[in-house]
């Protein structure tokens, strides 16, 4: 919940005070924060006791439990958003 509140504060700053000329700086800072966050996640994992052993013994089953539910979620959300939310028009053509 606190994360949402912080984001709402950002929305207020963005809509009222934030100069448009710093839009690119804001985007670059987001990339830096994202990379830092992923790195921190990696550090937490690496420090977890028995992480490699867990990964080697339960890794394949865990991978299936990640992959199949994710695929089914995508397989349901895509047609639903195409049908009800004009999702066909919302595709990234630039990147």
């Amino acid at each position: 919940m606190d994360v949402i509140l912080v984001m709402c504060a950002g929305v207020l700053v963005g809509s009222w005070f934030f100069p448009k000329k710093y839009k690119k700086v804001n985007e670059r800072l987001q990339v830096v924060c994202t990379v830092a966050l992923i790195f921190c996640m990696g550090v937490t994992l690496g420090r977890r006791e028995g992480f490699l052993e867990e990964l080697s013994t339960l890794g394949l089953q865990s991978f299936l439990f990640f992959l199949i539910p994710s695929l089914f979620s995508v397989a349901l959300v895509y047609p639903l958003t195409c049908r009800f939310m004009n999702g066909r028009e919302k595709r990234n053509k630039r990147r």
């Binding site: 606190d2 994360v3 949402i4 912080v6 984001m7 709402c8 504060a9 950002g10 929305v11 207020l12 700053v13 963005g14 809509s15 009222w16 934030f18 448009k20 839009k23 804001n26 985007e27 987001q30 924060c33 994202t34 990379v35 830092a36 966050l37 992923i38 790195f39 921190c40 996640m41 990696g42 550090v43 937490t44 690496g46 977890r48 490699l52 867990e54 339960l58 865990s62 991978f63 299936l64 439990f65 990640f66 199949i68 539910p69 994710s70 695929l71 089914f72 979620s73 397989a75 349901l76 959300v77 639903l80 958003t81 009800f84 939310m85 999702g87 919302k90 595709r91 990234n92 990147r95």
Partner: protein
């Protein structure tokens, strides 16, 4: 961005495994919550700079629930499909899939309900869901649509994976991602309990 993410993840794991303590890096790792807050604040600024976004979201009315509905139903079906493949019961499989990427909660809750081994699987699989979402969002935004980028992220779409959403989708999808994350996060403990009780 994807390459940067891979390098950051592998670098972090190697640093954590090495046991080396560099004070600046350790300080960063200990305060990852602050990094997340800063990121959310910056994402909020991007949303705030996009005029008229809330009016566009309001146009969806009840349709705003389509994405969390699809994610939850898809995850439960996927969990049920995993049951015969992994040899776990329908109850155990759907419980693990009910984590929706919230690995800390799913790992602890399922560990308490069904034992340490299933708890570890819940932790790892939901962690994988979060990590792989970072890498799935770019191709999904190119080949499917923006809204579907929220599907693999599930409950994490309101925080950690939101930065990828804003980079590879648009502000409207980011707001929908936050809404979806709230719904999915609220649903996780309910779904785990329900799957444990029903199946």
């Amino acid at each position: 961005m994807v390459i940067l993410a891979v390098v950051a993840l592998v670098g972090g794991i190697l640093y954590g495994l090495s046991g080396v303590e560099v004070s600046a890096v350790s300080l960063l790792a200990q305060n990852s919550d602050l990094v997340l807050y800063l990121l959310m604040f910056l994402v909020g600024i991007s949303i705030g700079m996009h005029e008229g976004i809330l009016q566009k979201i309001k146009q969806y009315h009840i349709k705003i629930f389509i994405i969390p509905f699809g994610i939850i139903l898809g995850s439960l079906i996927g969990g049920a499909v995993c049951a015969p493949l992994t040899g776990y019961s329908l109850s155990a499989s759907t419980m693990v899939a009910s984590g929706l990427g919230w690995y800390s909660l799913a790992g602890v809750t399922i560990g308490n309900l069904a034992g340490a081994q299933l708890g570890s699987i819940a932790f790892l699989s939901n962690l994988m869901r979060e990590i792989f979402s970072f890498f799935l969002i770019p191709p999904i935004s190119r080949h499917l649509n923006y809204y579907t980028c929220i599907a693999p992220a599930a409950a994490t779409s309101e925080d950690t994976t939101l930065s990828m959403m804003i980079r590879f989708t648009d502000e409207k999808t980011v707001v929908l991602a936050v809404f979806n994350g709230i719904i999915c996060s609220a649903a996780v403990p309910l779904l785990i309990s329900l799957c444990n009780a029903i199946f």
